[in-house]
Symmetry: C2
DNA sequence: CAAAACAAGACAACCGGTCGTATTATCTAG
DNA sequence: CTAGATAATACGACCGGTTGTCTTGTTTTG
């Protein structure tokens, strides 16, 4: 095992553990020691890899969103019925996962937007980038659904994508304190299943 | 000045400063020292008043929501055009205030739901109670608007109130990282100004 | 004067970050 | 191909400062 390969593995482990801990306990609620102990990596190495906790968090954010992009992409590209159904299917998958996790954590992006969205410039930019990537993908899906005639065309796909992202984030917060997936389901039913539908 | 009156003033000052600091820096991001220094109250007194930081935060949450309840109530009871307009007027007032604050802070409830919603049982309950009080008031307004014929009746006032609260929370998060009131305006225009409207 | 309320600061644990040293990889010269 | 120089990485003891909480002595009150 070469040294350089080990570095990549270590960074990957740190980021992965960072996603888990930051999502559940927040930025200030998670100490470096806790992350480092979990993956058995000394502090000096951490600072060699990332330079600072803030910079680490900015990378964690990107590391977090990637799987969601892939998962959504998978549903959008799958040869199924129509794109609107694919979106509904995707969100139902998310809901199932959140139920399985007992509504713990929610969304790292939403949590960090609230906690450090206006105290860390670096993380704010990382959050912006991550949210925009996600929103753009939703927008592409909604645009396709518009062309298929299942989604109304008197509103732009971009605006609807923003509405969906925002209500979903709010629903995740409600989910956390109510320990229930009802807010999530209401979000899908009312937007994708009603408000966005072509007349 | 009696001793008991002073205690009330001190508690009030602590709660008020707590609202400001917890909203901007979060729960774990704000140390007791910072709050105590700001209001010139010794640490011993704090623990005499509140018992613990967690308990303090739970009280801060209630202290935070009260003015919003009052403000919304004011708009709902004012002898204006109709209740739907009153709701729109209320939210526009909020938007103006957030713009004046340069989009800093956002909503204490949303921020804390994300940060400690699933680590502090006590705060979770306090958040639940605060959010429900707010939601119930919105629900009452929407119900009145339904009776006035300006809001659709094929959806329950409760469901619409939940949707409004959730999208508003999500919009506040987006506002924080985009430094823009556009998400907030989109929320109002699309829900109150479109989706909720009677046909 | 007893009991409760209050305030001051001690307290250990922990924070993010630094630094000197040891180890290893890569490059250069002969 | 190798010997030596240089850079990159690994590592954890250690830093000053802060954390939330608790103990203890004082003051106030009924």
């Amino acid at each position: 095992m070469t040294r350089i390969a080990n570095k990549i593995i270590n960074k990957e482990n740190l980021l992965s553990q960072g996603v888990t801990l930051l999502m559940q306990q927040g930025y200030h609620g998670t100490g470096l020691k806790e992350i480092l102990d979990a993956v058995q990596i000394p502090k000096g190495s951490f600072y060699n890899y990332f330079g600072s906790k803030e910079n680490f968090a900015a990378e964690v954010i990107q590391h977090y969103i990637n799987p969601f992009i892939d998962q959504l992409n998978g549903h959008l590209e799958a040869p199924g019925n129509n794109t609107l159904s694919a979106l509904l299917c995707y969100f139902n998958e998310l809901i199932t996962e959140l139920e399985k996790a007992d509504f713990k954590g929610g969304c790292l992006l939403g949590n960090l937007m609230g906690e450090i969205g206006d105290t860390s410039e670096l993380c704010k930019e990382s959050l912006q980038f991550a949210v925009n990537r996600y929103r753009d993908l939703l927008q592409a899906g909604l645009l396709k659904a518009q062309q298929e005639g299942t989604v109304r065309v008197d509103k732009s796909a971009e605006e609807m994508a923003d509405l969906l992202v925002n209500m979903w984030q709010g629903a995740l917060l409600r989910m956390k304190i109510e320990q229930s997936s009802i807010p999530l389901k209401q979000c899908c039913e009312n937007l994708l299943g009603d408000f966005f539908k072509a007349k």
